[in-house]
Assembly symmetry: C2
């Protein structure tokens, strides 16, 4: 009883017979439900339980990219903007008429959703690069996506917007930040914690704020534009290598860690406020560079009490070339594992230490465990987030695989795009509620 | 050239000959340095580089527990307190006269350090249970430690204090919370981010606050007593299953996540303020229970883009009985891994989903990835911290190994010691700095 979207099927359920075309699943649809477009034009959802399904004809309709995946809008402004969509809640939309999952979004729909585009763009390109849940992204996709972005940057657009699921946005932001260098324009990654067809969506303001970044930001960095507040007070523009999704559902889930957001866009005044003066200024277009190979032979390992040290050997034997540890406190793992890590180093595997506290900085010089780790070859990742250190190592091993281990180690320790913040002001540590 | 503490050695370095006893390393001492107690009574530290070391006699002195590991103090108050030391910065102290690492701390030294004990205790027991870096703790040690605590609880003491390294304090706090049930007294875990022999130490106030917990707290829970502020304004009393080390070095590194701390002790007034009325009241002594087996066949796995799904099979084949995932957002891993997780379930391996956002709650009913994970047998860990879910599963698999997988699953979903908070007020999410 195998069937797939586009097949014409007959379903018998509770003695009733249905015939129609199987509609594609959306990210919101249940596994147990088969959605049918009946011949009378109506859609029906049937529980597959106790249903008999017979495929009458395969591939009657192709739902894949049934509408153009690249659309344009010409407006009355002077900005050339490219909007690249990878998927995620921000572009999740079911066409309730046809029941099909539409290509992410068209230029016309985007302009409808955020009318500011109408007056401000001269040309708006909307391209669906992927239609993926962000948890399904891979280093390979970072390569392809950064290539697509680079093409637009080189063509001289005024801004590239990337619609992205929020789940792994941190990782993609870091990947783009390391691969798109000397940027003449900001690259803005934008998502939504509430889908665009809900009244409570945060998509619109996050997108509006992006336009302000293109016109007013002095920086040429990869940034994330997301709500800074549960209400619609302001949107924060976070540095891509210093931001993290810190809440599973709140609209203000994205927060800068060990750094201050670069800017905020206040509503309804639409004022753009730079709040961090440590930024990379826009570069000249001719200096722009794309360095975008990522290794998939890097693992991120969270340490925990009782962690079995031979899991490290297992990863080495599987061919991993880089191991990023999320250690405890100042950057520790149990002493029993130091020999396994030393073995990794001997075999040319790079090992990096970050901390599961997230806030603060790794320091391997305070305790003897740390000093033993340094001797075993571990690279301290300073105040980099574990996720960012993971992406950086994947990028270095992919893009600089002609270099020696020692040279890559040196590059790892270099602050390339402000992924390291050497100065932590007291106020960048958030304030918790401690009673009245 | 193997030598160890207690050996009598001859060291030749830069043409100078030294003879003496090798002193034990402290957690602050460098790997490269050999510390010698010379015959004239002085200590000298020599870099082992280019040094020749010859062992003259082995085990001339035994430094292990050279001083009594259990000491007592009788004071003028009426509290019976047990202080169990496991190691860590709070008890790190080098005896600069002998150069030896002294047993953690004696009762007399503790009273010297925190004179409040003098007037308040009738009997103070100080026992060094371990002398370990907290990163070296294991589930086995949680069993032994909880057993030692239970003995004191049963003997009717008014409070048990546990000195612990801060690195894995979260894990131990959760382990004790699950194993010590129906507590008639609070169990206070205390640590320090600055060692006790430094003027800036936070140890003293954290210990002072513990005394207030024993005398004033209405709850019978395992709690963590640590600074709530960079200055000495107040100490927070966190629920053991809702606290996390959130900074690698700050004195206010420990914060409650998805919950409000149970109480705070304000200085210098020493006022005890209950700030969370959701607590477990002190139980009757006769209802106290110790349930303390922990399985070491549980792994905590952080998911990241490109995560190789067959790593899951590797863990199953190695004999793991429980896998706790730190997924993305509402609790996702890539769709490619769902089959591997389903295989785990088929083989009777329990799988649990937590979120790497730390804040917020797992919800596997919103997106199709989540629903597929539920079908594959994944248990959603609600708003439990990944570390706490890891400990809970280790405890369930260890202590209830006579139960079926389904029964353990049901127990996992039950809120046993407030490790689940069903109601998240807006103010429990911390406030970040977003500019002025």
């Amino acid at each position: 009883m195998r069937f797939k979207p586009g097949d014409r099927v007959r379903v018998v359920k509770d003695d009733v017979v249905y015939e129609g075309i199987v509609l594609p699943k959306t990210e919101f649809s249940s596994e147990d439900i088969i959605m049918l477009k009946l011949d009378n034009g109506y859609n029906v959802g049937l529980s597959v339980e106790d249903a008999q399904v017979e495929v009458l004809n395969e591939n009657v309709v192709s739902f894949e990219f049934e509408e153009p995946s690249q659309t344009f809008f010409r407006g009355g402004g002077n900005l050339r903007i490219s909007f690249l969509s990878t998927g995620g809640t921000i572009v999740s939309k079911v066409d309730y008429e046809t029941g099909a999952v539409k290509p992410a979004i068209t230029a016309a729909e985007l302009v409808d959703m955020v009318p500011d585009f109408k007056n401000q763009v001269s040309e708006l390109e909307v391209l669906e690069v992927y239609r993926l849940f962000s948890e399904d992204l891979t280093p390979k996709i970072w390569e392809e996506l950064s290539f697509e972005v680079a093409k637009r940057v080189k063509s001289g657009v005024d801004g590239v917007l990337i619609a992205h699921g929020t789940d792994t946005m941190t990782y993609t932001a870091a990947a783009l930040a390391f691969s798109l260098r000397n940027l003449p324009i900001p690259i803005v990654i934008v998502g939504a914690q509430r889908s665009s067809d809900r009244p409570s969506t945060d998509a619109v303001l996050n997108l509006k704020a992006s336009l302000k970044v293109f016109t007013e930001a002095p920086f040429g960095e990869v940034v994330v534009s997301m709500h800074g507040h549960t209400s619609d007070e302001y949107v924060l523009i976070h540095r891509g290598v210093k931001v993290r999704k810190m809440h599973s559902s709140r609209r203000d889930a994205f927060q800068s860690i060990n750094d201050v957001p670069l800017a905020k866009v206040v509503f309804p005044s639409m004022e753009f406020k730079l709040i961090n003066d440590r930024y990379i200024p826009r570069a000249r277009l001719e200096d722009f560079e794309l360095i975008n190979r990522f290794s998939d032979e890097v693992a991120l390992i969270k340490f925990y009490p009782g962690f079995e040290c031979d899991l490290i050997d297992g990863l080495i034997d599987k061919g991993y070339k880089g191991l990023v540890f999320e250690g405890t406190g100042l950057g520790h793992v149990r002493n029993a594992c130091v020999d396994n890590i030393a073995r990794a180093s001997e075999l040319g595997v790079l090992t990096v230490m970050t901390t599961q506290t997230l806030f603060g900085r790794v320091n391997l010089n305070v305790y003897s465990t740390g000093r033993r780790l340094i001797k075993a070859g571990v690279i301290p990742a300073e105040d980099m987030l574990p996720e960012v250190a993971f992406v950086k190592l994947s990028w270095l091993l992919g893009s600089y695989n002609h270099l020696s281990v020692d040279e890559i180690k040196r590059l790892f320790l270099r602050n390339l795009v402000n992924e390291i913040n050497y100065r932590h002001e007291d106020f960048i540590y958030p304030r918790w509620y401690h009673g009245d």
